[in-house]
Each structure stands twice: as C-alpha cells, then as structure tokens.
C-alpha cells in the first residue's frame, strides 16, 4: 500500500497544468457526461422505435396523471361540496380563439400518429378507445392479484365473472392506489372478491344485489351506441356488455341459486326480458362499433387488417336496426310487466283500504239518516252525506214524489249507482296513490317506472270520476226540479232527454210557473179580481173596468211573470205563424200578384173611438182571409187546444170572465193574435226577397193590423157591423165562428184540426 506521506510528496512535486487545458478538460468531461445521457435505456428486447413511442405516450399520459393527482389532492384536502340547489345564473359558452382548437388538433394528430403505428386504419378516436379499454383492463387486473386467481382456480370460480364485476383501480408509480377514490375501489374489490370466493351465498348476496340493481338501473338506448358515445364512453359500454353477459353466468352458478330464487318476481321478469332481448345485440354492437374504429374490443388492441374493420362496419350496419327493434320490444314488455305489477300492488292496497273502510261505513250506517243506503264499494263520508241528502229530499216531498214517481225512482237509482261507482273508482285511485307513495322516495329506475305508471292509471281513473260526478250532479239537478220546482238546468235537460222525459218535464215546469204566477195564491188572477173590485168601487165605466182587470191578469203584457208563464205553456205551438205569413206573400207574388196594385187600391179604415184599423178592397180581402185561415190552422191544432184548455182552466178564477169559457177563449185568442197573427216582422225581414218588397211590406202590415182589429170588431153592435165593408163583415163572421169552434173544442165538445205543418196552395187575391 503506497505511503500516504509519500503520495502527498509526489503530488506536491507534480508540475501544475495550464488553466486553458483544465478548462478544456472540464468541457470534455461535461461533454462526455451529456453524451452519455443521449441514449435510450432500452429495456430487454425493446427497440429504439418502441422506446420513442413509449416516451411519447408518457408525455401524453403525464398530463393526465398530473390532473389525476391534482384532483386527488382536492378530494383529500377539501370536503366534497354538499349542495341541494344552485343559485340562479348560467355562464354562456364563450367563443374560443382558433388557436385553441388548433392546439386540440395537434393533440389529436399526436394520438393519430401513435395509433397509426399499430394500425394504418386507426386514428385519434381509436387511440382514445384503446386507451380507455386498456386502462380499464389494467385496473381490473390490479384487483385480480395472482393469489386471487389461484384461489379462483382452486375454488372453481369463473375468473371472468370476478374480473367483470371488479371495479378495478389505478396504481401510481409506487404501486399504491393513485387516488383516494382508487383506494376505495381497491378496498371494495377486495371485499367483493373475498366474499365471492368464499362460495357462501349469504356473503355474496350483498354484491349480487348490487349487480342486480345496477343492471335494472342501466337504461339501454340507441344513443349509447353512436360513434360519438362509443368514443367518449368505450370502457363503460364494454363493462355494460360484459356484465350483462356474465350476470347470466352468475345466475347459473348453483351457489347463487337461493339468491335468485328469492328474488322479487317482478325484478326477475324484468331482468329476464332485458338480458334475453338485449345482451347479445349490445355485446355484438359494442364489438362491431369499436371494430369499425379499428379497435379490438376484447383485447384492447388495434385491428391492423382491413378485412376485420370492413367486416365490423358491415356487421354494425346490420346490427343497428336490430338494436332498435329489440329495444322497442323490450320497452313494450317492460311496460307490460310494470303495468301488471302496479295492478297487483294496487289490488293489495285496495283490499287493505276496503278492510279499513268497513269500520267507517259501520259508524255512518249507525246514523239514522244514513242507515240502509246500501253503498257497496269503498265509501267516503261525502258519499254517505250526498246520497242521504237526496234520499231525505224525496222523503220530504211525498206529493211531488207521488206525482212523478217513475221519473224520481229512476233518478234516485241513477244517483245511487253513480255514487257507488264513484266510490269504487276513488278506492282504486287511493290504492294507486298508496303504490306511488311507497315507491316515489326510492330513486332507482324500476321504482320510478312503477310510480309513474301508478300516476298514469290514477289520472285515467280521475277522468272517469269526473264524468260520473258530472252525471251525478245532473241527476241531482233533475231531482231538485221534480221535488222543489227549480228550473230545468242544462245538465238536467240532458238527463231528461235521455230518459225520454224532457217534454213532460217542460210541461210540468210550465204548469208550475202558471200556478205560481197566475192561478195560485198571490197570482195574477187574484190581482185581476182585486183590480176589478177597485174599478167598480171607483165607478169606472165597463170598458175601463174590463181593461183594468185584463191588465192585472198580465198575460198580454210581456215580461210579467204571468206572461212568461203563459209563454212557457204555449211553447212553440204558434211559433211558425209569422213565417207562414211571410211565405204566403212570397208564394202569391211568385204567382204574379202585383202587391203594388193591392197597396194602391186597398182602402184603410179606422174603427171610430178606437185605434183599430182595418183594410179592405183592392184585393186585400183575399189577403185578410188567407191570414185568418192560417191563424185558424194554428189555433185549432191539438197542441193549441191543449194550451187553450189549460190556460182557460188557469184563468177560470178570474171574475172578469164570469165563468164563461167563451170569454176566456176570446181573451186568449186576442193575446195570440197580438203575439203571432199581427206579427209581420218576418215579412219586413225578408223585404228584399220580394219583387216589390215595399209594397208587400205595406200590404202585410195593414192585413196584420186587420187581424189585430178582429177581437175589437167582435164587440161592435149590429149597426156598427153593417157599416163595415162586406168583405170585412165576412171576415168578422169567420173569426167569430172560429171563436165558437175553439170554445167548443176547449170544452171538449168540438174536434181538433191536424197540425198546421202542411202548406196550403197559395191563395191568389183577385185583381
């Protein structure tokens, strides 16, 4: 060993190097060092090209890893945000300067370049898909340690099932979970694997339930398999396809049999349909769609041969319509299953509701006014109260009931049935509500489907309840009409029409109004008698006295209660007369009657001391006769006689008539002529339809006024009559004959004419 002292002496005596040589040497040393670094430390068997590719991948991946690390730090150092709502506002997507998309293009170009090293047909999309699949596969492999694999083989547990249902986790460079989330996934996988390898179904059950829930929850739609979605979610879609496939393996594992046997039948059925219809097509489409993008889905590798890609494209194109068809069929079957399940649940709830309802019904039926109502279905207090109310109403009006027993019986039965049906519907609605209440807090897909189906059914039944309730209300209205004399409401008239009772009810109503306004206590007959007495006490003349009594009767004055009641009884009996008059003029003008001539040649006269005007001569007498003939037809019809008879009876208490039917008929006829016979408004309204409208209108007016004068003309003395034109005398005679005929018919001693519906041949005036 050299002597240190000697070495030191030797060193001291070495000649010093020049400075520039030292510097040069230093530079060479550094150069060497740097050159040494300019090498790729290739792994055994790795080529230079492979090393370069791996480095590019690292550069791309490094950013990804940095982002994962930053996110993991946030999750460790901060709490997760607990939010129930967001404050209002939303940022608007900004326009990005082109340089950014340019940058993105460079990224994509890098990925495409890497992918093309593996396959000339791959691009940045293929790259992303392959990386996702590889990452997922590696993650799962991390969980499937060699020990796990060995145990699986020993226990004869299908490794593919284990791998498929692991979540997988990512490792960092040290081999530890890359983030807290990864650590959680690793733990979860360990638990699952231990439990599953135990071959104890009670330990497996929790996991099996989780996988079952997940498969029930996943909503398979056609959108999942678009190229864009495959690009973004390749790993997830592969996982869905695999889990659908290997779930069936789980179902076939005898260890799991108790779990699947005890599964809820509805879930079992849903899964059966889903897996049966969709597993194959989803798996095939996942494979073919990724294959069309040059990725071998099963191996997380690229397809380098074009025929695989071509085949994938063809397969995919054929599979997409199949997916649509299978999905449609699945949706249909899913709805059937859900529908049946909802009905079964509602049946159970309804049975319970009916049971609980019995106690309430018994309590109500103990009340006297509600006993014996005989409601058979689910009943509420409302049902009891309402039906009892109408039963009570009938019982409180025995007379009205007796008079209209048949109608009221049918109405009451209708009310009862309607109430019973409403009860049943309400019970079912309640049952659906119970189904909905028990499901809506559970947020999973199946319960949402059940809940929304229950709501749908509820709404359907609520529509029916509304219809039945409306009918109930209409029948109640009708009952009130019969029992309390209220007006016939629109809904009630529909009920009556349906029962064929409408006309009868209208008549009944009209008669009630007449009784109230005219013949009954406080009616216009009483008022007329009072007016008569007063006029006599005051010493008024006969005409004034008569006028006062007639006025007080109110029948001739429009808008009084008596006039309205009279109009109700009259109905539409005479309503066609003004139109017939108008038609007469049209027909005669068409038969070449020149009304201009008639107008010019007719003579107008006024009854002295009155406002009564009449015309004669110049051809107008034929008009007068025709109008009277038309009036006669209407007023002698059966409907008219029924009206006259009834009103005669109603007015029989009026002392002004002195019990004389003829006088009453005269009075009523006068009112009728006022309302209809003297009504030339139809002619005036159709003036423009006549050749000589103005002339027709004038002639019609005067002829109608002549009609109007007839009642007054009957009061003339013989001498006054003789002074009338001949034709007018004849007209008057005819009118008086008509009055006698009417009186006989009202008394029941005459015959009625047929209804005034058939038109006459036009009567042509002479001249």
């Amino acid at each position: 060993m050299p002597d240190p002292e000697e070495q030191k002496t030797l060193e001291q005596h070495k000649p010093a190097q020049p400075v520039f040589q030292v510097e040069q040497q230093q530079q060479l040393d550094i150069r060497q060092e740097l050159t040494r670094l300019q090498t790729w430390e290739l792994a055994p068997g790795q080529t230079l090209e492979e090393a370069r590719e791996a480095h590019v991948q690292t550069l791309i991946q490094r950013q990804q890893e940095d982002n994962v690390a930053l996110l993991a730090r946030a999750q460790t150092q901060m709490p997760q945000a607990q939010v129930r709502a967001a404050a209002p506002g939303q940022p608007v997507q900004q326009q990005v300067p082109a340089k950014k998309t340019y940058k993105q293009k460079r990224e994509e170009a890098k990925k495409t370049k890497l992918a093309k090293k593996q396959s000339p047909f791959a691009d940045h999309v293929s790259y992303d898909i392959q990386r996702q699949l590889e990452r997922q596969d590696n993650g799962k492999e991390n969980s499937l340690t060699p020990q796990i694999k060995q145990r699986a083989d020993v226990e004869k547990v299908d490794r593919r099932v284990l791998k498929c249902f692991c979540q997988g986790y990512q490792k960092d460079k040290k081999g530890n979970p890359a983030s807290p989330e990864d650590a959680q996934r690793m733990q979860a996988d360990q638990t699952f694997l231990e439990d599953y390898l135990s071959k104890d179904v009670t330990r497996r059950a929790l996991h099996l339930q989780r996988f079952t829930d997940e498969l029930l929850e996943v909503n398979i739609t056609a959108d999942l398999y678009t190229p864009e979605n495959i690009h973004q979610n390749a790993a997830r879609l592969k996982e869905i396809a695999d889990r659908m496939t290997y779930y069936e393996n789980m179902q076939e594992d005898p260890v799991n049999a108790p779990f699947f046997q005890n599964m809820d039948p509805m879930h079992k059925e849903l899964l059966q349909e889903k897996l049966g219809l969709l597993t194959a097509i989803c798996s095939m489409l996942t494979v073919s769609q990724m294959g069309a993008m040059a990725v071998n889905c099963d191996k997380a590798a690229y397809y380098a041969e074009p025929e695989y890609i071509r085949n994938s494209v063809q397969l995919r194109d054929g599979q997409i319509p199949v997916l649509h068809a299978q999905l449609a069929e699945y949706r249909r079957r899913e709805q059937e299953i859900i529908g049946r399940s909802v009905e079964a649940m509602a049946d159970q709830e309804e049975a319970q509701l009916l049971q609980d309802n019995q106690e309430m019904k018994q309590a109500y039926e103990a009340e006297e006014d509600k006993a014996g109502l005989g409601l058979t279905s689910y009943t509420t207090g409302y049902s009891f109260d309402e039906l009892a109310k109408y039963r009570g109403m009938i019982e409180a009006n025995p007379e009205a009931y007796a008079q209209n027993k048949q109608a009221i019986d049918r109405l009451y039965q209708g009310l009862h049935h309607a109430m019973d049906v409403m009860g049943e519907l309400n019970g079912r609605i309640m049952a659906y509500q119970q189904v909905c209440d028990s499901r809506h807090t559970r947020r999973d897909r199946v319960n949402r489907l059940l809940s929304s189906r229950a709501i749908q059914e509820q709404e359907r039944l609520m529509g029916q309840v509304d219809q039945v309730r409306n009918q109930f209300a209409a029948m109640a209205d009708t009952l009130r009409f019969y029992l309390r004399g209220t007006e016939i409401s629109a809904p009630a008239s529909l009920v009556l029409e349906r029962e064929g009772l409408l006309e009868q009810a209208k008549t009944l109503y009209a008669h009630r109004q007449v009784e109230k306004a005219i013949s009954g206590p406080g009616g216009s007959v009483e008022a007329s008698n009072a007016a008569l007495r007063l006029a006599r006490e005051k010493g008024l003349g006969p005409k004034e006295t008569e006028s006062a009594a007639f006025q007080a009767l109110g029948v001739r004055t429009s808008k009084t209660a008596a006039a309205q009641a009279d109009a109700l009884v009259r109905g539409t009996t005479y309503i066609g007369l003004p139109g017939d008059i108008a038609l007469y003029f049209a027909d005669t003008e068409a038969a070449n009657v020149d009304y201009t001539q008639v107008e010019q040649n007719m003579q107008k006269s006024t009854l002295a001391g009155t406002a009564c005007a009449y015309v004669s001569g110049g051809g107008v007498d034929q008009v007068n006769a025709a109008l009277l003939a038309r009036y006669t037809r209407y007023v002698t019809s059966p409907e008219s006689i029924t009206y006259l008879r009834y009103m005669t009876q109603a007015l029989s208490g009026a002392e002004i008539f002195e019990g004389d039917t003829g006088k009453t008929v005269w009075f009523l006829s006068q009112a009728l002529i006022n309302s209809y016979g003297a009504n030339f408004t139809e002619v005036a309204a159709r003036k423009d339809s006549y050749r000589n409208g103005d002339a027709v209108r004038m002639v019609a007016r005067e002829a109608c006024r002549t009609m109007l004068a007839l009642p007054a003309l009957t009061r003339l003395s013989e001498e006054q009559r003789r002074q009338l034109p001949e034709a007018t005398q004849q007209l008057l005679t005819q009118y008086e004959g008509l009055l006698r005929t009417l009186t006989d018919m009202v008394k029941g001693t005459g015959t009625t004419n047929p209804a005034p519906s058939a038109p006459d041949a036009p009567d042509e005036p002479a001249g």
Binding site: M78, Q80, A86, Q94, Q232
Partner: protein
C-alpha cells in the same frame, strides 16, 4: 361559505354554474378539478381547471350574479392556488375569456385584483369590427378594378373547391375539413383565386363566431400572401352588397402574421379574447 370539490352527486346541481364544455368533460369523468363555494347547501359559484403544459388552465369560473362582490370568486381561485401550492405541476394559473357580453367586461378587473396580468397574445386573437369599419380601412382606399381571377365561391366549380379544401387542410390551414363546401359557408362573400383550373388561395366567411360575419379561414396557398389582400378586398365588396354597413364582423387571427394583416387592414378592429396569467410561487 364553504369551499368543496364537486363530485358526481353535486355535479348535477352545480352543472348550471359551469360552462357547458367543462360540465360535459366532468360528466365524462375526465380528471378536471372542479370546486364550488356553497352556503347552507346553496352553490354560489363554481370553478373547473386542468393542468396543461406546465400551466393550470381555468376552464370555467362563474359566480351567480346575485352573490357577486362577496368574495366567492376570490375564494374559488385562492382555493385552487392552495391546491397547486402543494405540488409542482404548474408554474402559473391561466384563464382565457372572450368578451361577447357586457358582463364579461368585469372579468379583467376582477382577475387583476387577484394578481393576474394580461398576456400579450402576439395577435392571436379574435377581432370584432363592423362592415362599415372595414370600409373605412386602408384596404378599401385601394383603387383599381377587381381581378377576373378572384371569384365568389358561388361562381367556382364545386370540384375545385373540394380539391382546394383537401389541399389546404393537408397543408395545415387552420380550418375544419370541408369548410369550403359546407352549406354554412357564405358562398356569396367567400372568394377564391382561381388560376389554371386550380384554387390557389381563398378567404372563407361564415357566421360561426357569435353569429357575426366571420372570416373563418384565409389561406394564401400557391397564390402567396399578396393574394390575400385582393381576396379580402373582393370579399368585403361582396359583403357590402349583401349586408348593411352595421353588420358585425369577427376575424380569428391564428398566427402573428395573420394578426398583423388584420391590424393593417382593419385598424378599428378590437381584440376581444384575453388571457390572464398569474405566476405561482413554488
């Protein structure tokens, strides 16, 4: 107020406070870091960011208008800075935005107050102007008739356009493939220099930027940069015939050269895209 990270459950609620692109990236489980400030369960503002080339880029930063001036935005940014301080992945924070609405104008002062400074963009920006301002620019002071070789796209054979589209794209023109034949390209305003049966240069307009008449791509190709001036002159002439003077324009400059061209031809054009950066102590 509390600061927390946005997980999958809270994303559904906080989504409305994030720009759509950021929210979609989070839904795809991309590793963006997303934070929210909440108060009694109500999210007041949110931020999303990712690391890129040594910077931390803020992709989305938004505070509900009702809760501004309460320090929510500051809390979000400082929270992110705190996370970055623990590691060494980023040397700076960056945020880019484009002023297309009045409320965007408050962003600059807000960022400046937090210590951010605007970056020089070397002209790579979006420029807004109007057709009237273009008419006042030096381009239109040029006299002389138009060249017969410069034609609107509507008068150029479709096959030529298709070929030019492919060539330009392959040569790296900053455009989407198919721009020249896309139905959304304004064929009356966009112009091409056609020589010897080839399109040697073109300027393509559409309405892709904030629905403004947008110069989507100007490519000089074989025509050389000098061709662009003639193309732009003709294009703006066509635009003035088709649109009223107040028609808003947008021009994306993707390189210093194109930015210089924009400033020269449209001196009144204003840049509307800004990038602010803040160095991180580390």
């Amino acid at each position: 107020m509390e600061l927390g990270w946005i997980g999958p459950e809270s994303l559904a609620v906080c989504r409305s406070l994030l720009l759509p692109a950021a929210a979609e990236a989070l839904e795809r489980r991309e590793p963006l870091t997303a934070l929210a400030v909440t108060e009694d369960g109500l999210a007041l503002g949110a931020l999303a960011a990712h690391l890129e080339d040594g910077s931390c880029v803020i992709d989305s930063l938004y505070v509900s208008p009702e809760h501004r001036r309460r320090g929510v935005g500051r809390r979000l940014v400082e929270g992110l800075e705190g996370l970055l301080a623990e590691g060494s992945e980023a040397a700076e924070l960056r945020l880019s935005y484009t002023v297309t609405l009045p409320e965007h104008e408050a962003m600059g002062p807000f960022l400046a107050a937090l210590g951010f400074a605007p970056e020089e963009d070397e002209g790579e920006n979006i420029y807004f102007a109007t057709l009237e301002q273009a008419a006042d620019g030096p381009l239109f002071r040029r006299t002389g008739g138009g060249s017969k070789e410069i034609l609107p796209f509507a008068r150029v054979d479709g096959a030529l356009l298709t070929r030019a589209d492919r060539t330009a794209w392959q040569q790296g023109a900053p455009m989407a493939r198919g721009l020249l034949t896309d139905a959304r390209t304004d064929k009356e305003v966009s112009c091409a220099l056609v020589r010897a049966g080839r399109v040697e240069a073109f300027v393509a307009f559409d309405h892709s930027c904030c629905q403004r008449l947008t110069l989507a791509c100007a490519w000089s190709g074989a025509g050389g940069p000098a061709a662009l001036a003639g193309l732009l002159l003709e294009a703006f002439r066509q635009a003035r015939e088709k649109y009223p003077p107040e028609t808003p324009l947008a021009i994306q400059a993707v390189s210093p050269a194109s930015a210089a061209l924009v400033r020269a031809l449209l001196p009144q054009a204003v840049p509307v895209s800004f990038t602010y950066a803040k160095p991180l102590d580390g």
